[in-house]
């Protein structure tokens, strides 16, 4: 239990560090030196030191938004089995709870964006509402698959201990597709290239970033931290899926998990470096690909595992 809590705290602490890896990779591909690996901590500290500016047209929703989205991210992290260890909290059906908790976070981000009454933010909010719908469909499809394989509905049974190595053994090919689908979800949910460009400066082309334009100071810091944690959350899935081995040694397992996690972040960084952002009308097709993959994996599994 103590161990789980330590991992939970560690995850929150390290999430900004891992996000900086992506920046570093992008800088490397651009032939630049890039910011230091601790840049995100500096940014967060800087932001927390500042004061907030609120538009007179906003209400309490606007102030609540960042807080709720961070809280939902942190709570979701409680259920996450990190490096194969049991999560802090777990119950049967927690997967669905997690999905809706993330939905809650998103809802408040959107609500806060709408609250500013800025047309750009409304546009971003519409996109933010649209693309994750497909992602959710994908995740439910993956859920069906995992339920079919394990017969349970909790993250702990999917990703801790000897899982998902066991699952790979039963249904290797489908899990490969699931990994790919998850990576696409990771890119979509966390507003990465090719769905969204976190570094863009043009409101018209933004999705996620446009919604946080009006937040400042500590509020912005909370949002940033929330997004770091969210990215960490999804990366853990993919890392665990591509590196499911259980060596029996806790330290060794953790080290290996860390390496896998780093690999996922590097992969995300490389994707961002080599790909261009899709035109807005091409994005749904990209996200649909993840759904198609998950759906396909599920059908195949139903075929194999009678």
């Amino acid at each position: 239990m103590i161990k789980s809590i330590i991992f939970w705290l560690l995850a929150m602490l390290l999430a900004p560090f891992f996000s900086a890896v992506i920046l570093k990779i992008k800088a490397f591909f651009g032939g630049k030196k890039g910011p230091p690996l601790l840049i995100n901590y500096y940014t967060l500290i800087k932001l927390f030191k500042k004061g907030s500016v609120y538009s007179t047209s906003t209400t309490f929703i606007f102030k609540m938004g960042p807080m709720v989205s961070l809280c939902s991210a942190v709570t979701v992290l409680l259920f996450l089995p990190i490096a194969g260890h049991a999560p802090v909290v777990s119950f049967d059906g927690d997967v669905i709870f997690i999905l809706y908790l993330m939905g809650l976070g998103r809802f408040f981000t959107i609500a806060a964006a709408m609250d500013t009454a800025s047309p750009f933010e409304g546009m971003g909010a519409a996109r933010e509402a649209y693309f994750p719908i497909i992602c959710e469909a994908t995740m439910f499809m993956i859920l069906v698959l995992f339920y079919k394989l394990t017969g349970e509905l909790s993250l702990a049974t999917y990703f801790s201990g000897s899982q998902p190595a066991g699952l790979w053994h039963v249904a290797g090919a489908p899990l490969l597709f699931v990994s790919m689908a998850f990576f696409i979800i990771l890119l979509t949910e966390n507003s990465r290239v090719p769905v969204d460009d976190p570094a863009t400066h043009l409101e018209l082309t933004m999705i996620h970033e446009v919604m946080v334009l009006d937040h400042s100071g500590p509020d912005l810091a909370l949002i940033e931290l929330g997004s770091f944690i969210k990215l960490f959350f999804f990366s853990t899935f993919v890392a665990r899926l591509i590196c499911p081995f259980d060596m029996g040694n806790s330290v060794f397992n953790t080290a290996m998990f860390g390496a896998a996690l780093l690999l996922v972040y590097v992969a995300a960084g490389i994707t961002e470096s080599v790909m261009a952002r899709y035109r807005m009308d091409r994005v749904p097709r990209f996200v649909l690909t993840s759904f198609a993959l998950a759906f396909f994996a599920t059908v195949i599994t139903l075929e194999f595992v009678k």
């Binding site: 090919a173 749904p284 097709r285 649909l288 690909t289 198609a292 759906f295 396909f296 195949i300 075929e303």
Partner: protein, 213 residues
């Protein structure tokens, strides 16, 4: 225990998905080359006792389906500088949903038939059905003439997959004849495509509307 063929066939099914989502001809051609390779090496895994004749025939299939046909179409595109994006009748997102439905429907259909001839592999029949129907769909849903030819090839691949059970019982000379016919057919289509691109400088089949009734 998953039959080794099934792993390959899973990838073939996936490639159908990508073929439906792809709007670019070279991607489609690569997918077909892959399907051609997989489909022709399936007999190796099915445990028919392979005589020399069978091996030679399988290799010939591999060369023709996997290399010669896709390569010739690809080089034709390159030579003629054809636009690589395809015109569609049915859009890509809808196509993807159709392919998903297809992949669900095909196993259900093959359960009905209850085929037991294929030693061990559960996916051969569903894949064959999927390929045949998917080929038909491409023929109807894409207006680009090359895409139609590719749809035809996909259909042929599916039929060949059904035929693998049958390869045990006929002489290879017959199968070879079939293979040559398909090859010649594709070549003639390729020649037609070339003259078409000379005449219309576009392969949109909407241009072929002069003859009616």
């Amino acid at each position: 225990m998953i039959h080794p063929v099934d792993i390959l066939l899973t990838l073939v099914l996936l490639s159908v998905l990508f073929a439906f989502a792809s709007s670019r001809l070279p991607v489609l051609i690569r997918i077909l080359a892959f399907q051609g390779v997989v489909v022709s090496i399936v007999p190796f895994f099915l445990g028919h006792d392979m005589a020399t004749g069978s091996i030679v025939f399988t290799l010939a299939t591999l060369t023709i389906r996997g290399i010669i046909i896709p390569w010739s179409i690809y080089s034709m595109i390159k030579k003629m500088g054809i636009k690589r994006e395809m015109e569609t009748v049915v859009g890509y997102n809808v196509s993807v949903f159709v392919s998903l439905l297809l992949i669900v429907a095909a196993p259900m259909l093959s359960h009905k038939f209850n085929l037991t001839f294929f030693s061990g592999s559960t996916l051969i029949t569903p894949t064959a059905i999927t390929l045949v129907v998917a080929g038909m769909f491409l023929l109807m849903a894409r207006r680009n003439a090359i895409a139609m030819v590719l749809g035809y090839i996909m259909m042929e691949n599916g039929i060949y997959l059904v035929g693998t059970s049958f390869s045990a019982r006929t002489q290879h000379i017959v199968e070879f004849g079939i293979l040559l016919d398909v090859l010649a057919g594709v070549m003639i289509m390729a020649i037609m495509l070339q003259s078409m691109s000379h005449k219309y400088d576009n392969l949109d089949t909407a241009l072929l509307r002069e003859l009616k009734e």
